[in-house]
């Protein structure tokens, strides 16, 4: 499920986009540590910057809105919204464009105009988000904030990996501030790691399942054979050859094991959704890939190897002389 989510995230985030969130604490502000140290990445493409405050505004529509402050340096990225002439605006997917909403924030009142967020900002905001010039938020700013850098890399700019590395190097060199970086590249790396882990897990699961099945079938076959060993001895006493009895045992077990294994997998694939729903687990995976992939072949192979291994005691028992079994 996590893999599917990450794949969707990669697709929606875009391969050439980079999000850096720098956390500025009140101590950083008091110490005079300057924020905005990564603004220089704007030479690699359009950069959206904004400060997400540690506060929320109460709206006259009954909804709270996250608060983002912007300075003159941030205006370039906000031009698509500022062009309507309102310095305070609320980005909302639920409110009609142009409607005015009153907000209260730390005892101050603001009136903002609702605007629809453009695609690229959709993934940065959750719910209604109020944009206010930073000079009106000087008291709230002191509590600390998250400085958001959202870069859309230009085709001729360095790779996202290189930009990410440069940011991390600067952050390490400064030795202050906490940064979180999100890029499709990083998500892809996590995805690859997860896929690797999943493949390895699938392999071991298939091996364990195959091993367990082969053990069960092996034990059953030994028990079954012990129970009917005297029948085999009786057949040998009638002149049936050892080879024929051994082959019959192998063929019979192979038929049983493969029918049961494939039957179980088929049944699970047919009732996957029902079983997962009953267990309150998410469904929506590709059944064909999940049940009829490489690991199914491993499982069947392991089960058949189990049959062959379990046939060893059968052949050893067949070597016993009839006169030592039948009295």
């Amino acid at each position: 499920m996590q893999i599917e989510r990450l794949k969707t995230e990669v697709a929606s985030f875009g391969l050439d986009n980079l999000l850096v969130i720098e956390t500025i604490t009140p101590q950083d502000i008091t110490a005079g540590i300057s924020s905005g140290r990564f603004r220089s990445i704007q030479r690699h493409g359009p950069l959206f910057t904004a400060r997400k405050m540690l506060a929320s505004a109460n709206g006259s529509n009954g909804k709270n809105a996250a608060v983002i402050g912007y300075s003159d340096e941030d205006i370039r990225g906000l031009l698509p919204y500022l062009k309507y002439g309102h310095e305070m605006f609320v980005l909302s997917t639920t409110m009609p464009q142009g409607v005015a909403v009153d907000y209260t924030l730390s005892g101050n009142s603001f009136t903002a105009v609702a605007l629809q967020p453009q695609d690229k900002l959709l993934q940065l905001i959750q719910g209604d988000t109020l944009f206010i010039p930073i000079n009106r938020l000087s008291e709230i700013e002191k509590r600390g904030y998250s400085l958001i850098y959202y870069l859309q890399r230009e085709p001729d700019a360095p790779e996202i990996t290189d930009i990410t590395e440069a940011i991390q190097r600067v952050s390490r060199a400064d030795g202050n501030g906490k940064i979180d970086i999100k890029s499709a590249d990083l998500i892809k790396k996590r995805l690859e790691k997860l896929e690797g882990q999943q493949n390895s897990m699938k392999f071991w699961l298939a091996l364990i399942l195959g091993g367990a099945l082969s053990l069960i079938y092996g034990v059953l076959s030994i028990l079954e054979f012990r129970q009917s060993m005297y029948i085999a001895a009786l057949l040998k006493s009638f002149g049936v050859s050892r080879l024929l009895l051994g082959l019959r045992s192998i063929i019979e077990n192979i038929l049983i094991v493969n029918t049961v294994t494939i039957g179980i997998i088929y049944t699970l694939s047919q009732y996957h959704d029902t079983i997962f729903a009953a267990l309150r687990m998410k469904t929506g995976v590709d059944i064909n890939t999940l049940y009829w992939g490489q690991e199914t072949i491993w499982t069947i192979m392991a089960a058949n190897i189990g049959v062959l291994i379990s046939s060893i005691p059968v052949f050893l028992a067949l070597r016993k002389q009839v006169g030592n079994i039948l009295e």
């Binding site: 009638f238 002149g239 039948l326």
Partner: protein, 223 residues
């Protein structure tokens, strides 16, 4: 003619020989092997039947080694002491299987099944499972199974032990009829003196037993 030539058999490498250089020729007719318990009668029967492989020597019947599968399939009938009827198969199915493995056609099998079950007084038990029958009936069914393919060599291990006179008489009559049917050999391991009268040859196996004197002493029968 069934020939045993210089047979040696023991159950474990360092154990004493149960059969120690045993040689004997069994011609047509009924042969009784008699002797104390543990003297090796049943072992000899199993060696003759090819169910135990002798360490040395040779057992042959008309050019076949008796451990040959064709000999077992076509020419050998064996009645085990513990009968060993297939528990989940009817008496008819037990007989049918033995005959089918001998390669007897279905039509002939059906005739033989009826013939031997009737001879042994089991005509009405054809569809019954062995477990639903008495010990005597099971014993007779087991003999019927050995006779169904009309073998050239019939080996019987204590076929009448624990049976009443009536059951024994039925078996004796069947054995007589079997031997009268042609060039056939029946070898019977038994303690039962009721069979002495039908024997063409009685093999006293005690003479092959090194411990004979001790056993006789234990039984209180020594000189």
């Amino acid at each position: 003619m069934l020939s045993c030539n210089n047979i040696y058999y023991r159950y474990a490498r360092k154990a004493p020989w149960i059969l120690d250089d045993f040689s004997h020729d069994f011609g047509s007719g009924i042969h009784l092997i008699k002797g104390f318990s543990g003297c090796g009668k049943s072992t000899l029967l199993r060696v003759i039947g090819g169910y135990l492989k002798q360490q040395k020597g040779e057992v042959s019947f008309n050019g076949y080694h008796t451990n040959n599968t064709k000999f077992k399939r076509k020419y050998l009938g064996f009645v085990f002491q513990k009968l060993n009827l297939l528990p989940l198969a009817s008496i008819e199915r037990n007989l049918n299987l033995a005959a089918a493995l001998a390669g007897i056609p279905q039509s002939e099998r059906n005739i033989n099944i009826d013939k031997y079950l009737n001879l042994l007084g089991l005509g009405e038990f054809k569809k019954r499972l062995p477990m639903s029958m008495s010990g005597g009936q099971q014993q007779r069914a087991s003999i019927a199974r050995a006779l169904i393919k009309e073998p050239k060599v019939l080996l019987l291990d204590e076929p009448t032990s624990g049976l009443d006179d009536l059951n024994t008489e039925v078996i004796i009559n069947v054995l007589k009829e079997f031997i009268n049917g042609g060039d056939r050999i029946a070898i019977i391991c038994t303690h039962d003196s009721r069979l002495d009268n039908i024997a063409h040859d009685i093999l006293d196996f005690n003479r092959f037993l090194p411990m004979e004197g001790h056993l006789e002493a234990l039984a209180g029968t020594a000189g």
